[in-house]
């Protein structure tokens, strides 16, 4: 298979405009004859569904939540980047493009990233018009803050709830279309499979989570906006229901999966407190501006932090990275924390934590100032841990946060399966091997509001859409397979719950395919995962039936896909013999322990083709060319 990214010709600044100008259009009267299924109602899905309906397409939107307002986009705290240059500090589309490519450790497609930077400014305008209450200065103009990986202030925010406000904006736009009857909203419906007819994506199979009904829905195009797969680790900052099922089923139907091993680990999360832990909570990265990170110098030091004198403390980030210190980038700070904990110097229950200490800052600035800056974060920390961070240092530990990999898409955001479009975190596209802060919201909305409405028209204008119905053999077969699978999950009647399998899988992934990976560890994972999967299908216990709200069954169905997907992820991590961004292979590091990229051999997107469960997938490469940004090594010393 030859991967064609369909990147338009011409200078990078003109590619998108040229592409729009060159794309064929669909007559307004004909648009309503095209049906589009949008799976997922997060930022990317809701914005796409609303915008396509505004254009006149017949849209169906699906979510497994009870409302289109609950997707995990809502939890993003920090903000959204846009190259507005309102601060007059030298920002530009070019600079945002450059920062994003560099931040992604030169593993993203230049043309996509440039387009992202271009449309970023329109996103802010659109959101303001929708009534998103962005933070403002006293003069009434939009406020910006700075964020990691950039030297300009380009991040727009709404208190600590930017993701929520942007999602509500998109949800409102979607609700408007639902009210107008142009979007049919299907809540509590989970996608079980993709229906491919004559090589084109033509429908999906869903399960109604309340009644258990499994049915197919046919259309002219399918858009997956189903988020990332961080929950393969069980513990992550993702919401509990986030899963890989939709994209993984598409993969099994022939869509290629791009760069599955790229995982972002966020350094400042609240550590695990016990076996019952169900998820991890992120603490804003901004805390590192004033907090100092340290662990005891001696391993096994059981003294309380206030009993440990300065001379027995190791401020390891300040020691190793004197110029960036506690503000080292996410991947570096995360790995350093893991390292000291692996040495047995971690703090708190289980030894998986490091101190983030505000004592010096409180001494220097006074408690009132710290309260003003971080009051709500301190409150949240205390609510969860029961410890007062004004008196006792916070304990933090890295956690899985975002997955840069996803289904492979071309410049049109269409996968190799014609008619299957993939948006937001679900695609592999714009962040390369590492995502910068405040860029996830930007990408989700760029895809949904400003890219897909253009590119899907070009696809439809090509014509050749015979009517397909739910009675087609392909649709019936997909429904039958989904039904059989549900029955199979219910009929094992073994002894272990889906959660226990999920936790075990997550532990394997975290230990062997987490922050730091080795060839030996990854090979071990490739032995342990199939074993666990075999046990899953032999000893799973799901009570109840498939004809009712059955949350255990829902979970089991998602874990079943993680069991297969994990192997793909490890395979990708094992093949990529280099370290870059969110993928760190211990064999490939500099003498100082920094990531060592191999641009000669690995400057490509690894797009994997499914060959069967437990069978090695086929690698397809999309070579990345950097005509506008020079490949360089990141340094934060």
């Amino acid at each position: 298979m030859k991967l064609n990214a369909n990147i338009p010709d011409g200078p990078i600044q003109q590619k998108w405009d040229k592409h729009i100008a060159d794309s064929k259009l669909v007559n307004p009267a004909n648009k309503r004859k095209f049906t589009v299924l949008v799976v997922g109602t997060g930022l990317a899905g809701a914005s796409a569904a609303a915008t396509l309906a505004e254009l006149g397409y017949n849209v169906h939107a699906y979510t497994y939540h009870d409302s289109a307002r609950r997707a995990h986009s809502i939890a993003a705290q920090g903000g959204i980047n846009a190259a507005k240059n309102y601060q007059n500090d030298g920002d530009s589309v070019w600079r945002l493009f450059y920062d994003t490519v560099k931040g992604g450790d030169f593993r993203a497609r230049e043309a996509n990233v440039y387009r992202l930077a271009q449309v970023s400014t329109s996103i802010i305008d659109q959101c303001v018009a929708q009534g998103v209450p962005f933070a403002r200065e006293y003069g009434g103009y939009l406020s910006n803050r700075s964020f990691g990986g950039a030297q300009v202030s380009r991040t727009f925010y709404a208190r600590g709830q930017t993701g929520q406000q942007l999602l509500i904006g998109a949800y409102q736009a979607l609700s408007r279309q639902v009210g107008l009857g142009t979007v049919t909203l299907h809540t509590k419906k989970e996608m079980m499979d993709l229906v491919v007819v004559n090589g084109k994506a033509r429908g999906i199979v869903t399960r109604d989570l309340k009644s258990g009904e499994i049915e197919s829905h046919m259309a002219d195009a399918v858009i997956l906006a189903t988020g990332g797969y961080g929950n393969v680790f069980y513990l992550s900052t993702n919401a509990k229901a986030c899963n890989v099922t939709a994209t993984y089923r598409a993969y099994k139907k022939g869509a290629l999966f791009g760069n599955p091993c790229y995982t972002q680990i966020h350094p400042t999360c609240i550590p695990v407190s016990g076996d019952y832990q169900s998820k991890l909570t992120l603490m804003s990265e901004s805390l590192r501006n004033d907090g100092r990170i340290w662990v005891p110098k001696q391993k096994g030091d059981t003294r309380t932090p206030d009993q440990i004198p300065e001379s027995d403390r190791d401020y390891y980030l300040e020691r190793k990275y004197p110029s960036y210190g506690n503000l080292s980038p996410r991947d570096i700070a995360s790995r350093a924390a893991k390292q000291v904990c692996d040495e047995g110097r971690g703090v708190g229950p289980g030894g998986l934590g490091v101190y983030l200490d505000f004592a010096d800052a409180i001494k220097r600035l006074g408690q009132a100032k710290i309260e003003e800056r971080y009051g709500n974060l301190f409150e949240m920390y205390e609510r969860i841990t029961g410890e007062n961070p004004y008196e006792v240092p916070m304990r933090i530990y890295p956690a899985v946060h975002y997955t840069m990999g996803g289904l492979w898409v071309d410049y049109n955001l269409m996968s190799n399966l014609p008619g299957l479009f993939v948006l937001g975190e679900a695609n592999f596209s714009d962040h390369g091997a590492n995502r910068l802060g405040a860029s996830a919201l930007m990408q989700g909305l760029a895809d949904g509001y400003f890219v897909i409405p253009y590119t899907i028209g070009g696809y439809f204008a090509q014509g050749g859409f015979d009517k397909v119905s739910s009675d087609s053999a392909e649709a019936k077969q997909a429904v039958a397979e989904a039904t059989e699978r549900v029955n199979k999950l219910l009929s094992i009647k073994g002894k272990r719950t889906p959660a226990s399998f999920h936790r075990e899988l997550g532990k394997i992934m975290w230990d062997l395919c987490g922050m730091a990976r080795t060839e030996a560890g990854l090979k071990e994972a490739l032995v342990r995962i199939p074993k666990l999967r075999e046990e899953f299908w032999r000893d799973l216990l799901v009570p109840g039936s498939g004809e009712e709200l059955n949350q255990t069954l829902e979970h089991a169905n998602r874990v079943a896909d993680f069991m297969e997907f994990a192997e793909l992820m490890v395979t990708d991590a094992l093949h990529r013999n280099e370290s870059c961004g969110g993928h760190f292979r211990e064999e490939y590091q500099t003498e100082d322990g920094e990531a060592l990229r191999n641009d000669e051999e690995f400057a490509y997107v690894a797009a994997w083709e499914y060959n069967g469960v437990g069978v090695a997938p086929t690698l397809h490469k999309e070579e990345l060319t950097f005509d506008n940004v020079h490949l360089a090594t990141r340094s934060y010393k």
Binding site: E54, S122, V128, Y141, A173, R176, R383, L549
Partner: protein, 247 residues
């Protein structure tokens, strides 16, 4: 700590429900309330019983999925905290805890503690938006918005749509939810063009959904995990009548 839970169990929307007692032992004070229920559920599944169904997702207090009435208070005893962020250190050994679903005829029980809140979505669909197509927008800084207005809009927009206001209200009224959306958009210049029709249409849909009427007990504000002020209800009352009198 050891606890005795009294949990509302109801097999389906039309099934009869009742409170059932469960003992949970060795609960860690560091657990969240939902993690405590997770442990109970793992135990129930192991015994072949059906686990307690409850909605939840982000477990960070922002998605608005979770919600149950804990000892007579929606989201439990800690103010401005969703039940997913409530931790067991707020309870003590030997406590009896009553756990019930949101109770309102407009929120029918789907199963156990899960209720159907689609009524909220239908209210939003009647006008809880600004009618602006993608691409219509002018520059984001074209209209300066006073910081106080932007802040007020944000205060209201913080609503997570969990439904605790309805659950807490002695009348099962949805006024705080509806007022938050109307108040959010009414505070901004972008919301002015449809201000009247929005207030009118959303309130009438709220009534049509069968929520109770407000009698100003302010239990909603106390239960709201985001602390949204009942002042927005006063504003909505004014906006609605103002809009209605205009014809």
């Amino acid at each position: 700590m050891n606890l005795r839970l009294h949990i509302w169990r109801q097999a389906g929307p039309s099934a009869e429900g009742s409170l059932k007692a469960y003992d949970v032992n060795n609960v860690s004070e560091h657990m969240s309330f939902l993690e405590m229920l997770d442990v109970l559920n793992e135990d129930l599944i192991g015994k072949g019983e059906s686990p307690v169904a409850f909605d939840h997702d982000c477990r960070e207090g922002i998605c608005g999925s979770c919600g149950m009435v804990v000892n007579g208070v929606p989201h439990g005893p800690e103010r401005k905290t969703t039940v997913c962020q409530l931790h067991m250190r707020k309870f003590k050994d030997g406590d009896e805890i009553y756990i019930e679903p949101w109770r309102a005829s407009a929120f029918p029980v789907t199963r156990d503690l899960v209720v159907d809140r689609a009524a909220f979505d239908r209210i939003i669909q009647k006008g809880g938006f600004v009618s602006v197509n993608t691409g219509n927008a002018q520059d984001g800084n074209a209209i300066p918005i006073a910081k106080t207005d932007a802040d007020r809009a944000m205060d209201a927009a913080a609503c997570i749509g969990c439904g605790a206001c309805v659950a807490a209200c002695p009348n099962a009224s949805a006024m705080l939810f509806v007022a938050a959306k109307i108040g959010h958009l009414a505070a901004l210049p972008q919301g002015q063009a449809e201000r009247d029709s929005r207030a009118r249409d959303m309130v009438l849909q709220m009534d049509a959904e069968g929520f109770g009427s407000c009698t100003n007990h302010y239990e909603c504000e106390a239960a709201c995990p985001k602390g949204i002020s009942v002042e927005f209800i006063a504003r909505m009352n004014r906006d609605f009548v103002n809009a209605s009198l205009k014809g």
